[in-house]
């Protein structure tokens, strides 16, 4: 089974090294991994054309994949990398099994509460709101309900874990746990179906 490995690791200074580690680990669990950055981007005239070319490659890789394993560790703010969220939605719509991990134990509600400096009040409508009046989701979920819900509806899990400072996008322990769960669920099923 081909596993699309989504996540903000592509932005790391040592992206290729970390992606290669993830690829090797995914192989060791029996998957055929594909990840953004695997293919060479053709030369383009403008920056925008280059962005479009990378998007087209990633969509093609996703369309060739059977499942997704997404890194939902909060990136540059309170939520997962937005490109990864797009890719998770993309694979969910294709009906693919979806799994995720996050190197952050605080859930969505806790992170948004911290963003608001704790200034969160419970409104008369039963919803928690920040000082700007915007409601906070309070569903005991790692991230926005579309992400957690999409994964759960396809039999997946989100493995969460706190890691050492500076290791937020380098520690692959939660990723490995996720791989192990996905292999147990998908590859054993395939084997027993044969």
């Amino acid at each position: 089974m081909r596993a699309y490995l989504a996540g903000p690791e592509v932005f790391l200074p040592n992206a290729r090294e970390i992606l290669d580690r993830k690829i090797a680990m995914a192989r060791s669990y029996g998957f055929t991994p594909v990840s953004p950055g695997d293919l060479v981007v053709p030369e383009t005239e403008t920056r925008r054309q280059r962005g479009l070319a990378i998007s087209a490659i990633n969509e093609k890789l996703m369309t060739s994949a059977d499942l997704i394993i997404a890194n939902l560790t909060p990136f540059r703010g309170i939520a997962a990398d937005i490109g990864t969220a797009f890719e998770l939605g993309f694979m969910c719509a294709r009906g693919c099994p979806a799994f995720a991990f996050s190197n952050c134990l605080d859930n969505h509600f806790e992170r948004v509460s911290r963003l608001y400096g704790g200034e969160v009040h419970l409104g008369e409508d039963g919803r928690h709101r920040g000082p700007d009046g915007m409601a906070l989701e309070n569903f005991d979920m790692a991230d926005n309900l579309m992400l957690d819900g999409g994964i759960a509806a396809r039999g997946g899990v989100i493995v969460t874990r706190q890691v050492a400072p500076g290791q937020l996008f380098l520690d692959l322990t939660a990723f490995e746990e996720c791989l192990s769960f996905a292999a147990e669920q998908l590859l054993k099923q395939t084997a027993s179906a044969q």
Copy 2:
């Protein structure tokens, strides 16, 4: 054509009022609008079950829709609402036309540069990086390349606009421009095909 109206408006104190305005506007352009929050969520025992129920409803609404119009105005940080990004990816995978608007003229690169307090340097590999070493996408795009790329690949546009302070999630001028573009492209085509 059924248009799924995605965006963080669902978190507003006056969410219903704004959603109803968006629905009325979409109707006036010839679309049959559906939006998150249109259906009643069944009673559930736990908060997590409630989140899952809302996710299931939204996925069902998306599956019934023919196109998406997404509000990509940055929400609680540098990027679009992550639930909206998931939904955009979902509809792109379904092969649906995708359109978006944002009440922010600054592009992704400018917003991330500001997050880094301007401490962005051009590395030897030709990529701009923040002080944490993480690369910034610099593709003249409104948001992450998967979002802009997904929309462009399906014939859509992202209408951007600067709005008055305090009107970030209330000003619907860019939304209307987006509706007008989508109607021009999709409904005239449909009409001429009949």
